[in-house]
């Protein structure tokens, strides 16, 4: 039974062998340069030439964030069902089975416990390669359970969004996941545990319009498409050209919608710092159900500073090449991905 596979607690690896079996060389979707696949992977799927952020496999994402050996998988006990018996050009069940076999996951998310530079967190990482990361009942339930369990275990929640929005094959039930994930976040709020939402390419529709923008902090990776309605829908509605960089991370940062845009190379260190700082504010004596504070020690701050220094070089390169990377790449139609050459 395929179900057993999902329960297998596979420790995520750097993902070397888990990418598609295409060629050794890839063409960057940002700068069109030919990149050696191993270089791209070693650089966290960020183009070494132009700092274009490729979409990142879920296992690699977990490996990048979690301290080695600390990730404990929570998700996988709930599996999708075709409540509407939805059929378009192909039955939903058949699409589900095919993508479950391809990804070896029951649905478009994994959640689990981890430490981030020693900070206890819960991770919820969406898988765009699973039906476009769409949020149906299972994704909603996993996020809700992750938030509740994180609260129970005094962990902060970090979600990595990558989603085309609500899963329309589950109809109004998928719409309801927007409310479900939202109300589940209350468990964290009540214990004053931070929820940091990281928006990656792409985050759209019902995911953007629910939990993913309800973080205490909402940050994004560079160049990510982040929107409610997709660029094509808007273009069809208004029949005008869209502004330069419209709906990209940097554009939204300028509009005041994001706390920051954080390059992938420093994401882990920044998240760890932010969680530490947010959790250092409470004295732990309040009897309002708040979780105990995380003490800021000299050691933890030094570690933080070191890591930020180390990654500063990557960060500067990212910023310098941002304009080039932000060129229109027709990401919605032809996904924003390196292609084999």
């Amino acid at each position: 039974m395929a179900l057993e596979r999902w329960f297998r607690r596979k420790r995520p690896t750097r993902g070397d062998d888990e990418v598609s079996p295409a060629g050794l060389w890839l063409k960057c979707a940002g700068c069109m340069a030919q990149i050696y696949r191993k270089d791209l992977i070693a650089n966290l799927y960020v183009c070494p030439e132009c700092a274009h952020h490729e979409r990142m496999p879920v296992d690699a994402r977990v490996a990048m964030l979690a301290d080695e050996g600390t990730f404990e998988l929570w998700s996988g006990r709930v599996t999708p069902t075709d409540a509407l018996e939805f059929v378009d050009t192909e039955p939903y069940v058949e699409r589900l089975v095919a993508v479950q076999q391809k990804t070896e996951r029951p649905d478009a998310i994994i959640t689990g416990a981890a430490e981030l530079d020693g900070v206890p967190v819960a991770l919820a990482v969406m898988d765009f390669s699973f039906l476009g990361g769409s949020m149906g009942s299972v994704v909603g339930e996993e996020i809700a359970r992750a938030a509740e369990r994180a609260a129970a275990e005094s962990r902060s929640l970090i979600s990595i969004a990558a989603s085309g929005g609500a899963r329309m094959q589950e109809g109004a039930l998928s719409l309801m996941q927007m409310a479900k994930t939202t109300v589940a976040l209350e468990a964290l709020s009540e214990r004053r545990l931070p929820f940091i939402s990281v928006l990656t390419d792409p985050t759209t529709g019902g995911v953007t319009a629910s939990f993913a923008t309800l973080g205490d902090l909402v940050v994004a990776e560079p160049g990510a498409l982040i929107c409610f309605a997709g660029p094509r829908v808007i273009q069809q509605t208004i029949k005008q050209d869209l502004p330069e960089g419209f709906q990209r991370s940097e554009f939204l940062l300028g509009k005041g919608m994001l706390d920051d845009v954080i390059p992938r190379g420093v994401l882990k260190a920044r998240l760890a710092v932010l969680v530490r700082l947010l959790r250092a504010g409470l004295d732990g004596t309040a009897d309002d159900g708040a979780a105990a504070p995380l003490r800021l020690t000299t050691e933890s701050i030094t570690t933080i500073a070191d890591e930020l220094d180390e990654s500063a070089a990557t960060s500067a390169a990212d910023d310098a090449d941002e304009a080039a990377a932000a060129e229109d790449r027709e990401r919605e139609e032809a996904p924003n991905r390196a292609t084999p050459v």
């Binding site: 179900l3 329960f7 996988g76 006990r77 709930v78 599996t79 999708p80 069902t81 409540a83 509407l84 939805f86 378009d88 050009t89 149906g136 009942s137 299972v138 909603g140 339930e141 809700a144 609500a166 329309m168 589950e170 109809g171 109004a172 039930l173 998928s174 719409l175 309801m176 996941q177 927007m178 409310a179 479900k180 939202t182 109300v183 976040l185 209350e186 529709g205 019902g206 953007t208 319009a209 629910s210 939990f211 993913a212 923008t213 309800l214 982040i226 929107c227 409610f228 309605a229 829908v233 808007i234 509605t237 208004i238 005008q240 869209l242 502004p243 419209f246 509009k255 005041g256 919608m257």
Partner: protein
């Protein structure tokens, strides 16, 4: 303009009108004939509406002449006083809000407003709110909590507006904020989907203790046309998409998305707006009567639990 499947009904109605006119003009007694035609009309309407396809329901939900939110607010509550503006960006006519009296209670009401004609539709942006509209809702949720006023929302929108300014002003952010804010209300909240419940833009006003839907209204994650364009790559497949999306009142009741269905007058609310408004008023009064004495902690807890339960999945033993 009658809906395509309404043509025989409209023709019969016209015949009855003509016959009445003739009887009046000529001072002849045709009451027997008229009564027979009226019986035929009733049974034809009943038969037609008993076997509506989901796509036909979508058409009824959007039918011209169907009462809009303000039509309901004129009768369902007393003395509706519209309150304008979001205190930041402007006033969005697509999402109206205000205070009113319902029986002996004061209430805050919020609704998406479609136009009743082309001119009003342009003013109201076809009931598609901008972030400003949702920000207005946020401030009125605050008002409701502060003064302990129950919240009534009437949902009727194709969806939140997809435009440049809407995206720049954080359409997704304000919808999420509305969902969260409404879930946190300390007062009773009742939502009624009166026409189109279009996606997140509808849900932003739909996180209530009790969610009702009119018999021929719809509630969907995406419009059948958009769903068809994406999943069939052909917008003409909208009828197939409507079938697949299971978006009718009965479907939603079965899915647990709505709590109750409010019957419409025979032939749909657009045939008898006054009758539909009376039925909605009775339903809303009934719902608030059941909620008004529930303590706020319980209201909040039960509302959260209502939405926490949503969804269908399998669980490994």
């Amino acid at each position: 303009m009658p809906l395509p499947f309404e043509k025989p009904i409209d023709e019969l109605e016209a015949r009855i009108r003509d016959m009445r006119g003739y009887a009046d003009d000529q001072h002849v007694d045709l009451s027997g004939e008229i009564a027979a035609l009226e019986r035929r009309l009733a049974s034809l309407t009943r038969e037609t509406f008993a076997k509506l396809s989901r796509w036909q329901r979508v058409q009824v939900a959007r039918a011209a002449g169907r009462p809009t939110a303000l039509d309901y607010l004129g009768k369902v509550v007393e003395g509706f006083t519209e309150l304008h503006g979001d205190r930041a960006l402007g006033d969005d006519p697509a999402l109206v809000g205000g205070v009113a009296r319902l029986g002996d209670m004061g209430v805050v009401v919020l609704a998406q407003q479609k136009g009743r004609d082309t001119k009003e539709n342009i003013l109201r942006n076809f009931g598609m709110a901008h972030p400003s509209g949702y920000r207005k809702a946020l401030r009125l949720f605050d008002l409701a909590d502060k003064f302990r006023l129950p919240v009534l929302s009437l949902i009727d929108t194709p969806g939140a507006y997809p435009g440049i300014a809407a995206e720049e002003q954080g359409q997704a952010w304000v919808i999420a904020a509305c969902i969260q804010r409404m879930s946190r209300l300390r007062v009773p909240a009742v939502s009624v989907i009166i026409g189109e419940g279009g996606s997140g833009g509808a849900l932003a006003l739909g996180v209530a203790n009790r969610v009702l839907i009119l018999e021929h209204a719809i509630y969907s994650v995406i419009s059948p046309e958009s769903c068809a364009a994406i999943r069939w790559r052909d917008a003409a497949e909208a009828p197939s998409a409507a079938e697949a999306l299971k978006l009718t009142a009965d479907d939603l009741l079965e899915q647990g998305v709505v709590d109750d269905v409010v019957a419409e007058p025979l032939g749909g609310a657009h045939k008898d707006p006054a009758g539909a408004i009376d039925l909605v008023r009775a339903a809303v009064e009934r719902e608030f009567a059941a909620l008004r004495d529930v303590p706020s902690e319980v209201l909040m807890r039960e509302r959260r639990a209502r939405f926490r339960r949503m969804g269908r999945f399998l669980e490994a033993a």
